[in-house]
Every structure is written in C-alpha cells, then in structure tokens.
Symmetry: D2
C-alpha cells in the first residue's frame, strides 16, 4: 500500500505537513525502483526499516498472503505457528518449482522475485570483487559440501561414464564426503611439501600423471580448493584450470571462504580466463556473515548453471535467500568493501603478532604465500616435553576453548581417520607425514582487533600453564 | 538467567508479591524440565512467550553468543545484519558437524540440543500417530525430493553395484528427479487402471516381474509413494513391503504428506510390521505447516538413519529445525490432533460437496478408496464442446486461479513431458492413456471450511462462464 | 513504497504471475483508502501484517525517519536503543504540539495522522455502541484518574471561582484523588442503601440539597461514576444530568469501564439527551484491552473538547495511541461486538453460578439492577465464626490470590482510610456503615468461561479450608 | 526458566559441550544479580538479547502472564491485539497503584520491580553526572510540562493558600501552560538584556521585588528554566535558589534538556547546595533519546518526592519506563558518557562554524555564556531588504525545512501571542522588545557531525536564494 490515489482529509493532517512527508518518501521509492530495474547491489546499505518494508511487500505478493486466497492444494504454505510466520515475514512457499531451483513459482511471485533479485545482486557483488568472467551465479540453500555434491551430480549427467574425481587433498570431512555422497570414486592427490616455507603446495604434475593413467574420459572432474587451513596453501587453480582445459576435463573449485579475500579472487579470475573452471562454490555464511546453510555456485557458463539448478529435486527453502537478500541490502557495496578492508588489516595484524609470539617462543610461523586467511604456529617446544603422551598437546586446544577462544585448531601428529573406507594418515595436516604439531588461527571476515589482542593474552597464559603442568 | 540466588531488595518489590510471582514461574520451569528430561511432545501447546524464552536460552548456549567469545576460526557464526540475527534468534552455527547431520556441534551446544530435541519430539509424534514400529527419525533441512536422493545415495553406499530403482509412476517432477539426481536408472512401473472406480492402483505383479528380469542384486530399491493426486491411489505399500522383504531389496517410501492422514499411517505401520521399508520420507511443510524446505526421514532401523545422516556433506541450516521446534511446542499433542480431526472432517465435506456438484453436472468423482486427501472431478461435459482446441480446458484452471483459488490442477489429455531423457505420455495423469480431462482438489492440513464453500461458489461461476464462452 | 511506476523485469518474475499478485494488493490499498477517507472503524478486523504495514508507512512520514533529515533542534526524536525504536515502529515524536493534544505536530505528519485517525475510529465506535449524541472524543495518554483531573482543570478555566466538586462516593482512591490533585474541594455525597436489594443507589436529593446549600455558582461540577464494584450501583446519571442542566452546573462522568456494557451506554445516551454531561471519561485498558495508561474523553460539545485538549501542557506519548490504533484495526466492528456479546453471556453465567453458590452456603448475592459488570457475595457465614479476629476474613482473599485468582476483592467491616485529609469509614464498601463483609467479582471484557469455572472450583476449596482452619 | 536442576540427557548434547555453554551463562547471571542487588547503572551497556531476556523474565512475574491466572476483576491486563502485547513484551498492568506512582502493584511484581529499578538507575545516573545532592528521583510517564503541573499541584497541597507562581519568562507554550493548567496565577518576570553580549539574563532583583510586593506566603514557588533557546541564557538558578531559601519559598526548576550538559548540571548541584530547589524536572526523550512522553522529577528531599508520587491520580503507563529501562541497560555508564562527550564536541564545532558564517555575512552570534546547547544567529542583513513584508523572513525557515532541516527556529519581530489570557509581545524571543530577527540552532544529544556540515551547505544555498528572490 501507499498514499497514492488517496485523498487524505485535512482533518487528519495539514496538507503542507503531509506534502513534505510524502516528498521524503519519494527517495525510498526511487531506491526500490532502482534496485528492481537495475538489479545491482546498492551503493550504500539500506536502513532496517527500508529493508523490512520491501521484504513485507514482496511477501504480500505470495498467494498464501492474499486476503481472498482459497487453498485447495496439498501445499498452500499455511503456517501453524505465528512465531514461525513472523520470523519468515510470512514467506512460506520456498523457491523454485518441482525440481528446478531457478524456475518461477506460480504461487509465489514475491518469493520468486526475491530469489532472482538476490542472485542478481550476488552476481553484481562477484563482478565488483573482480570476477568479471563470471557469467552467472545463484544461491543454493544447501551446505557448501552438499552443493559440491550437486555440482558433481550435474557434471555426471553430462559425463555419465566418468567416475573418478581427482581431488587435491584437504583434511575437511565434508569436502571429501561431497565425492562419496555422489557415489563417485575419489582419487587423492597429495601435496608437495615446500621445505623452506614449511608449507604445502598443489602437486600439479601428479594431477597430470593421474589423468594419463586413468584416461581423461574416465575422469569426472578435477576438484580443487582455495581457502583452507595453513600451512596448506590455496590450490594452484591457475595451473589446474589450464590442465583441465588442455585435457578437456571439467574443473570444480571449492572456494569455501575465498570471496572475502582479494588474492584468491584474482587467482580465480585468472584461472577462468586462461583455463577451465566449470563451477566454483562458496559458503554464504563465511563470506556474507549469515547463518550457516547456504552456498553460492558460480560459473562463466550460464548453461552449466541451468543444468545444475534443474538437478535440485524439489522446492527449496527460501530462508537462506531471505538472509542473503537482507544482508546485501543492509551492507551495500560500501559496507562490504569496508568489511574486506578490515579483514585484510586484521590478517596482517594477526600475522605480525603471531610471528612475534613465535620468535619469543622458538616456534615457526610457516610461510604460506598463497594462504591469505589462515596462519599456523608450530608447537615443537611444547611437544618435546611430552614424548610419552603425544595426545596431550591437544589439551592446549581444550584450554583455549574453555577460555572462550573458538576456531583455533591444534593438529597433532599421528592421527589416522577413515572416511567412507578411505584412510587418511595424520588427518588434519593434509599430508602423509607430519613431524611437528601445530595450531592454526584465521582472520576471517568480521573478526575484530580486540579479539586478536585478547587471543594473545589467553594464548600466553595457556602456553605458560601448559609448560608448567607438563614439566 | 533467572532469579535464583539473587537477593532482590525489598525496595524493588515487596517480598510477598515477588514470592507469589516466583511461585508462578515454577510451572514454567517444570514444563522445561519435563521437555528436556522426557523428550516428548508436550500434551498442551506452549504459549508464544514460553517458546521464545526457551529458544533464546538455547541460543545463548551457542558460542557466538558468549559475551567473552574470541573467534579465530574461519566460521564463527558472526551475523552482519541485525534483522537476520533477530529472525534466527541469534542462532548462526547450523546443525551437525562436517559431514554428519546428527553429530553434535562443539561450537553450538544450544543448536545441538534443539536439533536433538526436535528429532525426539518428532519421533514421539510419529508414535502418537500410530507408527509404533518406527525406531528413529530426524529432520533433514532439504526438500523431500532431495531427501529422497539422499536416501538413495545412502542405500548405494551399501549396494554400490545396484543401479536400478523400481518406481511406481507418479507424475511429479521432483519424485522422478530424485532418482536421476543420484545418477541411478529409473524403471517406471505403470499402474493398473481400475475401470469401475476410474482410479489407479499399484501394479505389484509388474514390480515382481521386473525384479525377476533385472535381478534383485541389480536393484537398488523399490520406490513407492503414498500421498498423491487422485485418481491415483496411495501405493499398495503393504504388498510392496512384503515383496521387498521376500526379495531382500530395499524399499523407499515417499510419504510426502501422508502424516496428516490416519489411513495412510496405518498402511505404513502395517507395511513395516509385515514387510520391509528402509526409509520413509515426509515433508515438514505439508505435515507440520511450516515454510517449505524440510523433510523428516524415518526408519525402523536406527543404523540406517545414522548412515543417512553421515551422507550429508557439510553443516546444515538450523532454520528448518527452529521452525519445527517452535511449531511442535506451539501445537502440542492436543493441537496437532485437533488439526488432524478438522482435516478429516473437511475432507469428508469436500468429497460430499464435490459428489453433489458432479451429480448436478453429469460428471464423475472417481472412487479412490486409498486416497484420503485428494479428489478428482471429471471434466467430460466441458471437454466435449471443445474438440477443436483440446488445450483450452486448462483455461478453467486459469480462471479459478485468477479468482484466488490455488492448488486446483486441471489435467488435460495428451500432454507429453520429457524429464532427464525419459518421456511421459499424458503427463500429470500418472498413466499411459488418458481419455477424459479432470481436475483435482485436496483437503490438506489447515484447510478451512469457509474456503471449501467459497471454492464451490467460484467453481460454479467459472463452470457456467466457461460453458458460455465456449458455446 | 509500492510497485507502481516500476518496470519489474521479466527475468525477476514472469509478467502474468506478477500481475495476479499485484491485483491481490489492490484489496489492501482499497482498505487503506477507505480507512483514511471515511475515517471509520473497519467492518472486519485487519490481519497483523496489514496493520503493521500501515503503521510502518505512517511512521515513515515522521521527520526523524526521513533519510535526509538534518536535526538541529533540541528535540529530534532520535532513539538511542534499537529495541526501543523497534517497539515503537520508529515513532518518536509523540502527539500534539506544545500544550495542545489535538494540534498537528509539524515534525510528525505520520504521528498526527495516526492520532487523528484513532480519535475518528473511537468516535465511530462510540456511535456504533449507541452514543449517538456524542460529538467528539479523543484519547488522552493518561490514567483515567488523571484525565478526570484534566477535565476538572479545564472546567475551572471556565468557572475560576467555583471550588466544590459534588462527588457520589465511590471507594477507589484515584477517583477521589482526581479532585484533590486539582486543588479542589470534594463534597462527598453518600448513597442511599436499598434494604431489600442490599445495594447502594445514588442520593440525588442530597445532591440537590448540597447545591442549594453551597450555591450553584460555587460548584465546579457534579461528579458521578457509572461502572463500579457491587453492591454499589451505577450512579443515576440520568437524574444527575437533569439536575445539572436545571442548575446550570457542569457534570463530569467517570465511565471507567462502562463502554463494554450496553446498559450503561444506554443510560449515558439518555442522560446526554435529557440532561447535561460535560465530559465522560473511560479507560482504554479496560474497554479496549490495551495496556494500562490511557483514557478516552468524550463530549457532546466539540468546544469543550478543544478546551480540554489545550490544557495538556506539553507534547504527549504516542504509545497509547499506537496501541489503540492497532487494536481497533485488529478487532474491527465485528471483533468488538463479539467481545461485547461474550462478556454479556459470561456475566449472566457468573451471576447464575454465584447465586447458586450463595444458595448452597446461606449467603446472599445483592441485587444490583444497575450494575451489569460486578457482583457481590456476602461472607456472613464465614464471618460469624471469626468474631475475635475481624481481620482474618481478608485471609480468604489471600488464599484465592495465592491460587492464581486475581481481581476478587474481599471487603471487611471497619476499615477506615484517610485520603488527603478526608476520612472514609468502612473504606471499600462505599458506605458509612457496613455490617457484613463480602467479596466482589466481575465479568469484564475478555474474561473466558473456563476462568469462571476454575474460579468456582478454587472458591469452593478455599471456602471449605477457611471454615476448617477457623473452626 | 534456566537449566538449573535439569538433568539434560547426553543424547541431547554431550556433557562437556553443555558444561562449557552453561559456564558462559554464569556471566549473564552475575550481571543480572549485580544489577538487582546493587541497583546501579551498569558500567558497560548490555547486548540486545541480554536486555530482552531480562525484560521477558520481569514480564513473566506479572499476573496476567501466569499460566494459571483466573482474572475476575475489572482490570486484568488482557491484551486483545497480539501485536500490542508483543511490543509491550506482555506488560499490561502499568505502574503504581490507584493514586500513587511509587506504590507496588500487587498484580504486577515484574512491572513494579522494573519501575523501581529504572528509578534507581536514574538516580545513579544523576549522581554520576555530578548531582550528588540529589536524594531521589523517579520517572513520570507524562510530558515535562504536565510533570511541572504535577509538581505545582503537589506544592499546593502543602501551601493551599499560595496562588502566585513567579516565572522567569521563556517563550515555550507548555512551560507557561503548566501554571495555568494547575489553576494558578503566573507572574511573568522579564529578563535583563545584556547589551554587549546580545543575550538575556535572569532578573533576580525583579524576583526579589515581586516577593516583597506579593508576600512570600502568597507565592507558591519560583519557577526557573535551565535549558532554553539562545540568546536566552540558562536562568541564574544559583541566585534564585539562594533567594528561595532566604524567603522560604519553594523553587521549581524546569531542566528540560539540561542533563545532557555538564555546565548546567554543575549549576544545579551548586544551587542545591547553597540554596533551595524543591523539584527539578527533565524530559526523558531529550536527555535519554527515547520517544517523547516522559519526565524525570528529582529532588534532594525524599519526602517531597513521595508527596508528588501520591498526587498522580490513577495507575500509569509503564511504556515510558520500559523505554528508559532498556535504554539505560543498552547504553551503560560508558555509552552515556560517550554521548555526552560527542555532544560537547559537536556544540563547539557548531558554534565555530556559525561564528564563521556570521562573520562572512555580517551577522552576529550572541554570546550566551550560560547557554551551552543552543546558538542564535542574527538575520539583520536579510531583514533590511524586507521592510515592506516583515513576515517574509520566516520564509527562510520554511526553505530550510523543505530541504530536510528540522529544529531551526526563525524568530521574527512583532509576533504577539495570547496564552490563557496572558499576552506575550515578540513571542518567541523571550523579551518585551525585539529589533532584529534571528534564528536558533542547537547541538543536542545524538546530533552527528555530518548533519552540521550538511546544515551549512543547505543554509548557504537558502541564504543566497533568499537574498536573490527578495532583491
């Protein structure tokens, strides 16, 4: 609703006051018009009330919110609990249409509009970040891992007989499970260990070699990862993309939290230009600071995206879309760029503080040139005193955790893990042989400098205490 | 927080007033204690403020809401937009742990607790409804179709060489896509047409015959559907379950909106007792009146459920869990039973009105003994006047839609549809040969009697107008 | 904002889906147009989202919500706490303009509009209830007692030398304090005791006599009360109004919770037609089920209302207006009439149950023909057993209270209370001499039948226990 | 509710995760304990969810929110509209008890607690600001003007025969109406014009002279004002307080928006120490950035406050209390001090920019040493060109307003206004004779520097345009 076409009686409000107030509304209307017509991320973030007003207006376009609706189907988006309706702004119909995430939903013009607008803003965001070659993207209301599975399934429809996935090892369960969930055969490619830097790098030669061994036509795709825990580096996606192109093998990139990082973005863009990437996938939670549960899949090939969208069996939740929609409007280009800058500065700060700490304690911070988010710190001096009970180094992690530090990982030597029948030695370290335990920390989007300061105070205390108790 | 251990000064409130008020709180506390300790759906629905209080308390147990949290990981559940945080009650961490939906999330004790409590209440609900053989269930934050895909993928891990899925035809895209998404081979089993009743029934003999032809070991599973559009009946799941047991072939049941219906439930329970069902899957939106996007997967075998849960690659959204959690608390056993009763009565009413309408217009309402939700009405008298332009009968649907009626489907003869390379004749009718067009309506959970009355007013108008304009 | 004048691209949503959705919005727009142009209480209640949408749109008309606002005054309605802003829908400017509640506020076109619209709907409500002679009314964001003070102050501006207020005794502190707060002299007029009915009635003769004694020109006004606790009856406002007219003395009626009662309303209307009432005042909380803190002042004389409005020194809170605005839209005429009917039925039910209880326990329910809300029950049989400790009868009230019964008053004999220098014997009983203690209960707007049933269960238990312990 | 005394089963959440989470809750609990036991403004602001949790817990202590409540009174705080209940966090009972704002409300232990806690925090705030002599204060849910009336009424109860109020002129309607509303006689004391500074100062001699003329016993009180529009200065409250003490006449101070300003606070404190102030009153909206509608009345005499509280006839809205309660918790001491500092800096900035503007345009910024909030700028050069139509200078105000600038007042010569029978010449200028028009601007709490910058851009444009069009 609005005040157009309504003759507001002067007994309700003096004409001149109202005129001034209505004039002030025109700015809002222009803002909405521009958003809908240009489909770009707004320059400046919107205010909460402006966002909610638009969201309410969109929800009103869904049939479950029509006053006169008569629902005689099996799915009418009735919502039993008022609190639930309220938290979804009365959206109930989800997005997509049986079996296609991108198809318009006839019962839900508003949800459809919101979903498409969100995808358009996401594309604009990718372009702004430097991913000019990206021709399309959309939000999938699934975890990143599941979205990677979806990508593999979509690729399989085009290469039904290829069953191998060449995967540059990364020790996160869901990355690996994404392959087995799809019923495909993972081929693990170990890393090259860079002695000097104490870091890990993609073994591109091994990839090539495996393609020769298995036959390119039997390989569903190469599967690389950008953002990861140090001392693993971002995969050499440029070389892998070239290889993929050369061998005509699809290439899937897990860019989990890489959008927040300029260096990774420029690698991605380059890889797309000089080589081949079929899909690259990123989490919404890590890159856009929304609750866990969504991913953005992007590609330079619009048709590939359509195929992917039509592999989603069913209508999907619109909750993740709503979160991203509101967040993008709330941040605007400026807001997001400010977050990026802050993260960059905090990463540099964290690195410098960590190197200083390492120097003081005779430890090392591995030099991961291609890991601009995560940092590692060796725990060799702690470990040497604990020969009899290797496991106890993980106590350090527990001590930090108990003091409110979350996200620090202590990686110990000798952990073996079996996932879906595949055994990983030294699990957590991304490598076959680990000699020195270490911990990792990250400066991710949204981290605040006082957190970093507080971390070192706590680390210092725990370090001292750990040494004391283990002495 | 609460008032225990706090000495509230008398200058703030007289002691006797406070004591009375605190006594009144004990009821709330007991309610929560009972919920957590017994893990049952409450007898009576909770009030909104009681629900929200618990939800807030649970959210406070997640590390992102600790006042002193220092987040140095790559995923710390920071939420950029206040509106988003608010609609999620500050939950941000999702549920599960990399690659297992049922694993506890160390950073999110509250989310974990909520998810497990929701699953426990869902199980209690299933038992209350009569599914006593069900030994476990859990909510999957995915569309029903995608959840069916997940089931197929989990089954494949146990039968890696079986690739056929024997599927009793149902003309809904996502049911079929659930198979192709998993990279499996669908074998379509057509229905037996019951001449007298004008209805469709499962061709169990054909199932058996196909098993023989293809070899039981090559068959991943039988895949049947309960709730569906008339004149298709609920599949004969009891006979299929017996067959599955006899042949040692898994059996997957799509029970999309069958929880709302006693007759289907009793079939399911019988099938589980006398035969074999590995998983049965139902939508949360249709059965619990929450927004689209979740499914409940249930089984009489706890291990099967664990395998399924560990096939989900990644951490999942907790938004669907929150919706179901709040809805179950809000309804309670009483509330849900009342909804069931109302639906049953409204179905009988809709049927009677439809039969009356049919009698007045020389049409037929097919007798689907095993379809207690959906009803069909032939459109033969409308059709006969439109020989030249078959398609125009769908205009009736558009007319109804334009007047606010949603959910009515007009099924015309001769529609062919190709899905992932498979061609379906007379798509929408679930059969190979359709001679008379028809429409379907449903009395689903939450439908109101005034809607039914209004529907017949509108149908009558549209029918008359359609006849007039096509004369 | 709305979608007019925006060319929504077809890539966002198919044209035909959008058109249908936009058509559905027109109903909402019509609803708003009708409200603003006709300024009547809507026939049917609005849905929550419709109410909130309008409220948000109105708030957007206030200058503190203009995007480009530059605030250089001392009062710019900035709101420090987001939670506070949210609960006020960003309204901050209050209503009225320095010293006049009804004047438009230049900085707040939206608040002004809402306030005037609320007053217009209230007037329509009064008319609907049968108060046709009422020519105007407005909401005062003050307690009823303070609003009565405001009325007395406004009357004093016209009769600066009159200092006596002739007040028909009612034992509620704030009714009396309303006089002393204004610095006026109360003249208490005791009641006639109706022996047979055990009830109290207005002593109109005494009123007349006092006017003669004091001189009409010295009397600021007659001050009567309608709704009250039994066995006091509603004052004989028709006779008092006639007297006021005859003697040219203003007449102020405290109609605290009388709007909810047809019988009182018809008395009020008659009194206005045949006699004189200057102002009649009613609580918003009791009559409209909003939080405590507002009153509606009404009159058949528009000028009197203007004088009253301009006696409010300062700008007032708009919180009460917002509550009433939303409640009226939410209920609509139908909703309010349903509440009235239910109350009437519940009163009859309560009366019948109470009479039955009285008969069983040898007690009496006084016959208050002119009290259609409150009922009394003598406690003579309880009292006789407690000669030694009169006070202990109030224990019954405490026992009821401790079991969750609120609102029951136990009136004991012999309580004396001094208010602002005036002494009231048997305070609580509205009379000079009370011999039998009693309790009162009321069937007010919003009471539910199960509450009444539960009350009698508890009363019965407490009664028995009281007898036992005092035996 | 909380998790104490509940044995959370390990199937719901692992014991160690839960323990960590519960430990984190203890901080919250400590925070609440400290608040309730010490009753001080917290050092640091609370987070939104912490505030809401406490508010919800308090509301749960009110009887209308007891699950088992049986309401048989005439006022049971039932709330008809869910939206209204929600915005009040289910508070419905208001504060106070018939006729006493500070009395505990038996039906509402939670509201009572919140109100007393709010008043305690306000007192702590006053002390923190430097008002050490202040012995008590409370929030009155009334406009400042109405609260001043309430003070006058309370004073009258102690001095029933005194009818004159000696009032240092300030041209704001509600300040004056506060006197007439109470039925008292205002004696206007004009200002001394300070020639050099172009500013106005309190004429203490005239006060003294009037006391002699009228007789101290006939004077209800002296009535001064601190915060005001330049070029009026804050009244010389120290001298007036001395005079009041000397003559044994009460002294009422309107400190409308003086809490935000250190200079005024120190005057107030000094005045209380060396002289007499009975009550001083300040707005909540202007000093605490909450919506309009509340005032804080403070005194060094606790008994005086009790008398005042017991003059409020009726139970009052708790909405204003809730706003202030949440705002104080949200800001904390630190937050408020930061706001004060920013205001101070912005005032200096505004002054400097205004002086610069004045110098460039041959205008003057009067030197009001005792007005640390508001600033004036003469408009002599604009005026000289408009001899024929004096009024037109107000056009400048309209031009600014139309461009989004609110709060600027243009004061023209020759405006006469009559309020309640008293005539004020040159109304708006606080003086008998005004020769040069001027405008005023203020740097109030919450103003942002960019607003000031934007103001000068707009002022410059309007100034130029005004000169052009009037040339």
């Amino acid at each position: 609703m609005n005040f157009d076409g309504i003759t507001v009686p002067r007994t309700l409000v003096p004409h001149n006051y109202l005129q001034l107030a209505l004039a002030a509304q025109r700015g809002r209307q222009r803002q909405v018009k521009e958003l809908l017509e240009k489909r770009k991320l707004p320059e400046h973030g919107w205010r909460d009330e402006e966002i909610e007003q638009l969201v309410h207006q969109l929800a009103a376009l869904d049939s479950n919110n029509f006053t006169h609706n008569v629902g005689l189907g099996e799915r009418e988006a009735r919502i039993a609990c008022k609190l639930v309706a309220r938290r979804h702004y009365n959206f109930g119909h989800g997005i997509g249409r049986s079996g296609d995430l991108l198809e318009a939903q006839p019962k839900a013009a508003g949800s459809t509009l919101m979903a498409n607008l969100t995808n358009a803003m996401l594309l604009d965001l990718l372009h702004m970040l430097g991913l000019q070659s990206c021709h399309g993207c959309f939000l999938v209301p699934l975890a990143t891992g599941m979205t990677l599975t979806l990508c593999l399934q979509a690729l399989r429809k085009r290469r039904p007989n290829a069953r191998y996935v060449l995967w540059s090892r990364i020790d996160q369960k869901s990355c690996f499970k994404a392959i087995t969930a799809a019923g495909l055969e993972p081929i693990v490619i170990p890393h090259v260990v860079l002695k000097e830097e104490h870091a890990l790098a993609t073994d591109c030669q091994k990839f090539e070699q495996r393609i020769q061994e298995l036959g390119a036509h039997n390989i569903l795709c190469l599967y690389s990862t950008t953002s990861c825990f140090a001392p693993r580096n971002c995969d050499n996606i440029v070389e892998l993309a070239k290889l993929a192109k050369r061998e005509s093998v699809p290439h899937l990139v897990n860019n989990a939290y890489g959008l927040q990082c300029e260096a990774i973005i420029s690698q991605l863009e380059k890889a797309q230009r000089v080589g081949r990437i079929d899909y690259f996938v990123q989490s919404t939670d890590k890159n856009l600071m929304v609750p866990v549960g969504g991913a953005i899949v992007a590609s330079s090939d619009a048709q590939l995206l359509e195929q992917l969208a039509s592999s989603y069996a069913g209508r999907a939740s619109s909750s993740q879309t709503l979160d991203v929609f509101m967040t993008l409007l709330s941040l605007g280009r400026n807001g997001y760029q400010m977050l990026l800058r802050e993260r960059q500065q905090n990463f540099e700060y964290l690195k410098q503080r960590l190197q200083q700490f390492a120097a003081e304690h005779n430890e090392i911070v591995p030099q991961c040139k291609n890991n601009p988010i995560s940092l590692a710190l060796t725990l060799s001096t702690l470990n040497s005193e604990h020969n009899e009970a290797d496991n106890s180094i993980t106590q350090l992690g527990a001590m930090l955790h108990a003091r409110g530090v979350s996200g620090v990982r202590v990686v110990n030597v000798g952990q073996t893990k079996s996932i879906d029948g595949h055994e990983f030695k030294h699990f957590g370290s991304h490598r076959e042989l680990l000699q020195t335990p270490y911990l990792t920390v990250a400066a991710a989007l949204g981290v605040h400098r006082p957190e970093i300061d507080k971390f070192f105070v706590i680390l210092d205390k725990c370090w001292t205490q750990f040494k004391k108790t283990s002495a």
